[in-house]
Symmetry: C2
Subunit: 232 residues, 2 copies
Amino acid sequence: MIDNTQYLSIVQQSGLFNGVPENQHAIILNRGKVISFKPGELVFRSGDPARLCLFVLEGYLKHSMMHLQGKEAICRYLNPGDITAVSAVFGEKKFRSTAEAVGDVKLMGWDKATINELLLEYAPLAINLLHGTINLIHELQDRFLGLCAEQVEIRLANALLRIMKESGRKTSEGVLINFRFSRQELADYTGTTLYTVSRILSSWGKYGWIKSERERITIIDPLAITRLAESD
Amino acid sequence: MIDNTQYLSIVQQSGLFNGVPENQHAIILNRGKVISFKPGELVFRSGDPARLCLFVLEGYLKHSMMHLQGKEAICRYLNPGDITAVSAVFGEKKFRSTAEAVGDVKLMGWDKATINELLLEYAPLAINLLHGTINLIHELQDRFLGLCAEQVEIRLANALLRIMKESGRKTSEGVLINFRFSRQELADYTGTTLYTVSRILSSWGKYGWIKSERERITIIDPLAITRLAESD
DNA sequence: CGACGCATTGACAGGGCTCAATTTAAGTGG
DNA sequence: CCACTTAAATTGAGCCCTGTCAATGCGTCG
C-alpha cells in the first residue's frame, strides 16, 4: 500500500489542491509515486517522451534548453511546490527542455493516464495547474523583455537579486547564495558568457557590493545592486 | 436573446471544446459576448485589471510588453482560434502586457465569474486551456533560447518563417504577409532595432529571397530562408 | 603534491546599436 | 489630380558593448 501522506502539507501549501475537497487530497497523493534524484542527475532530458507530470517536494531543479552547438539557456529554477512536465498531460509530446537535480531532490510523479483521469475528475486541479503555467508565462515574458531591452549588467543585477530572494541565506557579512552556482550558470541564466559575468562580478567586488568566491557569492550591499537594476 | 452560434465552427476547430459534450457547445458560446475592435485599437493595456477571458474569432492581435523608456518587445501574435487574457480566470490580476488589434478584430469574451463557472463545470475546457498555455510556454522558451544563442539574422529568418506559416497568404509571387507589418514591429519581435532589420531585409531582397515593400513582405524563396535559419 | 576545473584578466575584433541624412511611399486636402 | 505633409524605410559612419580566444591564477580534491 502506497502512503505519500507525509508530503500532504507541502502539496497543500503549494496551492495545487485549492478547491479540491480535503478528503480527496490523500487519495490524489497516493496515486502518484515519489522519486528521488542525486545532485547532478537528470530528471528528464530534451527528446525524452513526457510520461510523468512532476511536483517538486524537496530540493531544486534546473530547467534548461540546449541550442545546437552547445549554448545553453536556463529557463528557470524550480523550487519545492513547483510543478513541471505538465506536457505529460497531452498526447505523445516529447520534452523540449532538460531538468537537472541541483542537490538532493524528491519529486512526486503522476503518470499520463493517472493525471488525465485526475484532471477530468477534479476540475479545480486543472484550474490550479493553469494558474501555475500562467505565472510561468509571466516570468518568462519578463525575462524575455529583459533580454530585449536591458544590457548584461542590468540583467545580471536582476538575476542575482531574484536568486538572493528565493534562495539566499543571511550571514554576518551579507546574504550568501549558498548552492553551487558557477559563473557559467549565471551566464546561461542571463543570456551572456561566463567571461562577461566574471568581469562584472569582479567590478562589483571592487566597489564592495559583493564578495565573489568560487561557486558562491555573498551580497554585501543589496541596495547598490537594486539601484543599478532600476537605473535606466 | 444572445446568439453566437455563427461562431460555433471556429471555436470547435480551435480545439477549445474538445471533450465537451457537443450539445453544450452553443450554451457555452452564448454565455460569452462578442466584441469588435478597429485596426490599432487597444484590446487591453498593461496595468488594466483582467476582467475578460478572450478568444480570437476574426483578425489578429499583437501582444507586447513595454520596457521603461520605450523599448517594446512583442510577446506573440494571436491568430483566430487563439485564446488570451486567461489571467482573468484568477484573482485580482492586472495585465502585464498590452494587446492591440491588427486589422479588424472580433473577439469572444467571457467575464471572470462566467469563465470560472464554466471551467469548474467542464473540466475538459480547463484542460484545453492548459494545453494552449503549455504551447505558449514552449513557443516563448524557444524564442528565449533564440535570443540567447542566435544572432539577429537567424532570429529574423525564424520569425519570418513562423509568421509566414501562421498568417501568410499565397500569391503568384510567393507568400505574402498581408497585415501591416513594419520594420519596427519585426525588430520588436526579434529583439533588435529597425535599422538592423532594414539592412538584413534589403540584403535578402538583393539575393531575391524576398520582396520588401512598405509594411508588407513577400517571401519568394522560403527554402533559402529556411536554410539560413538552420545553418550551422 | 599534482591535477583538474573554475575563475580572472587582457587583447582584440566584430556584430549590432546609435545618430543623422536621405529617399520612398502613402495619405490628404484643395 | 497634383502639391504637400507625414511616416516608413534605407543607408552610411562611428563606436561601444560584449563575445572570442588565450594565458594565467587559484581552490579543491584525490
